[in-house]
């Protein structure tokens, strides 16, 4: 673990009095390696280390009998404060509230749409799930099955001979009309996975935003993402001015450094995390929960 690596750096210096800046640098080399192994973005790690160094150069750490513990505390606190905590969904406006999910292929959007539906019903909302992924085979059916498993209504996206016959903006327009008729007050829209570098598909999302002004645009990101997490998050945020992030597959054993990369790059709240395949495996995000895991 990082704490034992830092102990090792300092243990040979006991009895030599105050630590030097070089000693701090040696300790921070270990921290840097640990964060890179945790998939924190290279550039973000550099900035983080510089900030930690500034806080570590000073009497508290350098005169301390337990410098490694001090540095670990500085790093831990810095991580927790950067990662931030759950912020509630913006659902206090006039219904129907629209929550739109977006993200890369396979990140967990459709499953998360189901999870959000269950969560919102727990908050006494009248949820309507809307399948607006018109590309992936059986995407509409997937959301319908998830909806029916928890007794939530799902918009019946029209299909003919295996092809969807409405585009996402028509789907959402029809769904809103139905929601208003049935007093569904919260609409969760599932969209197709897409590369942030796919201009036509990013335009499709921008169009939905312009036409329907969703109250929440949530970026669904796989917690195992690597170095490209920064570029991906930045592009989705630049295109859509997202309102929050949902991290998925946090029940895996990856260190989850992408969370720090994403948060630091776009500075939008990480609101929830997916911790399993069941619709109930969904929790509000707290920085404390993954800070130590990123540290290693």
């Amino acid at each position: 673990a990082l704490s034992s690596k830092l102990e090792k750096v300092f243990k040979n210096l006991r009895g030599y009095g105050k630590l030097s800046e070089k000693n701090i640098d040696d300790a921070l080399k270990e921290v840097r390696l640990s964060l890179l192994e945790a998939d924190v973005n290279y550039v973000i790690v550099k900035e983080f280390i510089e900030s930690v160094k500034k806080k570590s150069i000073g009497e508290k750490v350098m005169d301390s009998l337990t410098p490694s513990q001090h540095i670990i505390k500085i790093i831990h606190d810095e991580l927790v404060s950067l990662l931030g905590d759950h912020e509630p969904l913006n659902i206090k406006t006039k219904p129907p509230v629209i929550i739109m999910l977006a993200g890369l292929q396979g990140s967990g959007k459709t499953t998360t749409a189901g999870k959000l539906g269950l969560y919102l019903r727990g908050l006494k909302r009248n949820v309507y799930l809307v399948p607006a992924d018109v590309y992936r085979p059986a995407a509409v059916l997937q959301l319908k099955k998830l909806g029916s498993s928890i007794n939530l209504p799902v918009y019946d996206t029209p299909e003919k001979d295996g092809k969807i016959t409405q585009m996402p903006d028509e789907i959402l327009k029809s769904a809103i009309e139905i929601a208003e008729k049935h007093a569904y007050d919260t609409i969760v829209v599932d969209t197709a996975g897409r590369l942030e570098i796919d201009e036509p598909l990013m335009e499709e999302l921008k169009l939905l935003k312009v036409k329907f002004s969703p109250n929440e645009i949530l970026f669904v990101a796989d917690s195992m993402l690597g170095q490209s997490a920064v570029a991906v998050a930045r592009a989705f945020n630049d295109s859509l001015d997202i309102t929050g992030v949902i991290l998925t597959k946090v029940d895996g054993d990856s260190r989850g450094g992408a969370a720090l990369s994403i948060k630091k790059t776009i500075n939008k709240p990480i609101k929830f995390m997916g911790v399993g395949e069941k619709l109930s495996e969904f929790e509000p995000f707290y920085g404390e929960r993954i800070a130590d895991r990123i540290l290693g």
Partner: protein, 276 residues
């Protein structure tokens, strides 16, 4: 070595940054740089273009290991596809089926994800689109029994290649890894030999956990090859280097999009050019 050389002062740091940003592990990036430094002819100037050339050569050397050819020819073959959630297994099964169908093989697919919502239907649609028969099961049917049925169909009917899709599973979920081991045992029992190839699908956009995934899956169910998907994304796929160099596993194919034809053989040359 570089005194008076043509390399700018922060060249090594920028290089390390570029390698790590392409998802090469920090350790491997350092090894690559140090190994190139050793090979550089003595003192004297070297331009960054020349250094890049040495770098490409070094990386190509690391990923050009000799691997035996795929074990699926001149008999009825079975390929088992495994991996964590959402990496592209089902789509890759369709792509692989299409790939081998175009090479003249009579392909059948086993839809052994009986767990996830609409997984069977997703593969059924791919089967229709590519003209490939799919052996499917009922929702929540034991996936091993669907695998058994698929192997029987391969043996009894006029097919020469069976590709089996499985449910996504995280390698740290013991019961799910045991389920996979059971699927493999059932295939072994029905076929009298284990699957000819077991490919783990890894997603190019994911980080170092992919190496843990490959190592863990190999330990628990044995892996003979790797397919890296989503290489059409902004991630550079540097993870391939550790797969080959650290784990000693061959990267057999890469996925480059969402259509059936978006699969290609892994080429070390093309990979290195795309990396740098």
């Amino acid at each position: 070595i570089f005194t008076g050389g043509g390399l700018p002062p922060d060249y090594m740091e920028k290089l390390e940054e570029a390698l790590v940003l392409s998802d090469i592990s920090f350790q491997t990036a350092s090894d690559i740089i140090n190994s190139v430094k050793k090979d550089i002819p003595g003192a004297g100037s070297i331009t960054s273009g020349e250094f890049k050339g040495f770098l490409k050569r070094e990386i190509k050397k690391m990923i050009s290991k000799e691997f035996p050819p795929l074990n699926i020819d001149d008999k009825k073959g079975i390929i088992l596809i495994v991996g964590v959630n959402g990496v592209g297994k089902t789509t890759t099964v369709a792509k692989l089926g299409n790939f081998y169908k175009n090479k003249g093989k009579k392909v059948i697919v086993g839809a052994c994800d009986t767990f996830r919502a609409a997984a069977q239907e997703q593969l059924a649609i791919w089967g229709e689109r590519t003209g490939i028969e799919v052996v499917s099961g009922k929702e929540n049917q034991d996936p091993a029994s669907v695998a058994h049925d698929a192997v029987q169909k391969l043996k009894e009917k006029d097919f020469d290649l069976l590709i089996i899709d499985t449910a996504g599973r995280l390698h740290n979920k013991k019961h799910l890894m045991e389920e996979l081991a059971k699927i493999k045992r059932v295939i072994m029992k029905a076929n009298s030999t284990p699957p000819d190839e077991t490919f783990i699908i890894i997603d190019a956009s994911l980080g170092q956990n992919s190496i843990t995934q490959a190592a863990q899956f190999r330990e628990l169910v044995d892996i003979t090859g790797v397919i890296i998907t989503k290489m059409d994304g902004s991630a550079r796929g540097g993870i391939a280097i550790d797969v080959i160099h650290k784990l000693g596993l061959p990267v057999r194919f890469i996925g480059t999009g969402e259509k059936p034809e978006n699969i290609s053989d892994f080429s070390p040359e093309i990979f290195v050019e795309g990396l740098l």
